[in-house]
């Protein structure tokens, strides 16, 4: 091959020793900054940070917009959400959606999971029997998320601190108000256990 052609191919990234790696592709390099909290490729290792791997793009985008607008208040996420909007939310949403999701490695309490299972019927109306959510109703997937994160979000709904006053979330918030805090912890354990 003539040298000029080789260097042209190299410049276009069409050849070279390595095939496209896990850090190539739109959104991937910009998502590196998220792994400090959310884990490599959005696969959270901790109890408080949600898993982003395999997240539906519509819900990723909504979350980022809600944080940037201060509807969901989080001193951690508000600045990062603005960074995502700066670099392109669609690319990053597609990048995370494309990552294989593995359930949280946080150890669960099997007794709590069983108690949660019994109480979870009231959630399935919106989140589905599978817990995987429903994009048509704007309902996200709960399964496999870390229990600490799920519980915290339920407490925020209960106190009307997640998107306060949002008419779309009236029903879920009213529901959370009827559930004692201990049972919220059980529900979190249960949904975390669902695959």
């Amino acid at each position: 091959m003539p040298i000029i052609l080789i260097s042209l191919l190299l410049a276009l990234g069409l050849t070279g020793p390595a095939a496209a790696g896990p850090l190539d592709g739109p959104g991937a390099p910009q998502a590196l900054v998220c792994s400090a909290c959310h884990g490599f490729a959005g696969q959270s290792q901790s109890n408080t940070m949600p898993i982003l791997a395999g997240m539906a793009p519509w819900y990723f985008k909504k979350s980022i917009q809600d944080y940037a607008a201060g509807k969901r208040t989080s001193p951690e996420m508000e600045p990062y959400a603005k960074q995502v909007l700066q670099f392109g939310v669609d690319d990053m949403a597609a990048y995370f959606a494309g990552q294989k999701r593995t359930a949280s490695p946080v150890k669960l309490d099997s007794a709590a999971v069983e108690r949660g299972r019994a109480a979870a019927v009231q959630c399935t109306l919106c989140h589905g029997v599978s817990g995987k959510g429903d994009p048509a109703k704007g309902v996200p997937d709960l399964t496999g998320q870390p229990p600490g994160y799920l519980r915290h979000q339920m407490l925020l709904f209960k106190a009307d601190r997640r998107s306060p006053g949002d008419a779309q979330l009236k029903v879920i918030k009213a529901l959370m108000l009827t559930i004692p805090d201990e049972q919220l912890a059980d529900l979190a354990q249960y949904w975390s256990s669902v695959r």
């Binding site: 910009q30 590196l32 600490g148």
Partner: protein, 417 residues
């Protein structure tokens, strides 16, 4: 909790490989010849360990050699909790076995010189040739800036590189008599971890308040005010009347015999236990290799690739850098490690470097269970890193302490898991 069980969480797999690697530990002479493309990384701390791992993740065809004298990694973040006894040093100590599983060749050696023209690093009597070099040696102390300090390095503790000094300072604090005076001195900015000394103030004050209520903590700060999260720290300090904070009190002399420090203003302050955090500059190898700027302290770099503005094919990351609007934090060093790794791999593969910006989150523990945080996000504008926003927690809470634990577990895994 034992060292090995705590460490176990990072070693979810590949223990067999790690043992194998330990059985035939590599030597410098194994790397005298370079066959394929090679990246050498100096320093296995927050920046270097991350960069080494991510070069391998981005392109496993590139050989990565990591030089780090210490066999174990001890986290500075969370190490202030060792002073208050809230955490053990073992709970933040990890080995490098998972990096070996990623194919990083870890050499527990010190780099002694860099030869940019020959593109090689000197280690003892041997040389390691490289295609690109990543330098992340952290900070070195400017002992000469405080009279009497150079001669008393072994007795006057900094505990600003987590490890034996952290444990020894905790021991001194615990054995101090009730009614004793603990003196903490803070150097002029720029130094490693802007909120770190104020978090330490909280942890020592919390310990004294709970265990030695007649004791006092005197903080001698060279700066005119708290360098970071001032209002949040001051609010937290309202719970600790045992703190006596003196701004603009730069310590210029220490006399361990008389157990006394002297400030620039000539005030002499007696102590029972002293923690003197000396002024800082880039790690020694960066200074020796002339990577530092006119100030002879810090290294200027390209904001997209972290390549030195002075030498080609040498990248500098972490605390040693200057010129970006970012704090000297572990979170930033980790972000720079990832960005630099992707940049280096793209450059070696003759591909364009995508624009990538770091991020920063610094949690600080203000008691045994509550934390505060500052968060910064950045963008790239005109080839430079520019801050988008800085956000503080509205107050202190147990929730942010839980998020701090989540952050630590995630980022330790990101670096070394």
């Amino acid at each position: 909790m034992t060292v090995s069980t705590r460490r176990a969480f990072l070693q979810t797999s590949g223990t067999g490989l790690a043992l194998l690697a330990a059985g035939c530990a590599p030597k410098v002479s194994d790397f005298a010849q370079k066959t394929g493309r090679r990246v050498v990384v100096i320093g296995g701390g927050w920046g270097g360990a991350t960069a080494a791992k991510y070069v391998r993740l981005a392109d496993p065809s590139i050989e990565v050699v990591l030089l780090e004298p210490n066999k174990e990694f001890v986290s500075c973040p969370f190490s202030n909790l060792v002073l208050s006894g809230v955490r053990t040093i073992e709970s933040m100590t990890f080995d490098y076995s998972r990096l070996r599983d990623h194919g990083v060749r870890v050499l527990h050696e010190m780099a002694t010189a860099i030869e940019p023209e020959a593109r090689r690093v000197k280690v003892g009597d041997g040389y390691l040739p490289y295609d690109r070099l990543i330098v992340s040696p952290g900070v070195e102390f400017q002992w000469e800036q405080v009279e009497g300090l150079a001669a008393a390095q072994d007795r006057v503790l900094h505990a600003w590189k987590a490890g034996p000094q952290t444990v020894e300072l905790a021991r001194q604090l615990q054995s101090m008599a009730d009614g004793g005076v603990f003196v903490l001195t803070i150097p002029p900015a720029a130094y490693r971890c802007p909120p770190g000394p104020y978090e330490r103030t909280c942890q020592v004050a919390w310990y004294l308040k709970t265990r030695k209520p007649k004791s006092k903590l005197i903080v001698l700060d060279a700066n005119p005010n708290l360098v970071s999260k001032a209002a949040l720290f001051r609010a937290a300090w309202a719970n600790y009347p045992n703190i006596e904070y003196r701004a603009s009190n730069k310590v210029v002399k220490v006399d361990p015999g008389a157990r006394e420090v002297t400030t620039e203003l000539g005030d002499k302050v007696k102590y029972d236990v002293l923690n003197l955090i000396p002024p800082q500059r880039a790690g020694t190898i960066a200074v020796q290799a002339d990577l530092v700027g006119a100030d002879k302290r810090w290294c200027e770099v390209n904001h997209l690739t972290y390549e030195s503005v002075k030498y080609k094919n040498i990248h500098v990351i972490g605390d040693s850098t200057i010129g970006l609007p970012v704090p000297k934090s572990g979170n930033v060093a980790n972000a720079m490690g990832k960005i630099c790794a992707v940049a280096v791999v793209n450059l070696l593969n003759d591909k364009p470097v995508p624009p990538m910006a770091p991020g920063n989150t610094c949690y600080s523990w203000v008691s045994d269970r509550e934390a505060i945080a500052v968060v910064n996000s950045y963008k790239i504008e005109g080839g430079k890193v520019v801050q988008i926003e800085q956000k503080l927690t509205p107050g202190q809470s147990e929730m942010w302490a839980q998020n701090a634990v989540g952050w630590a577990n995630s980022i330790w895994h990101d670096m070394l898991g």
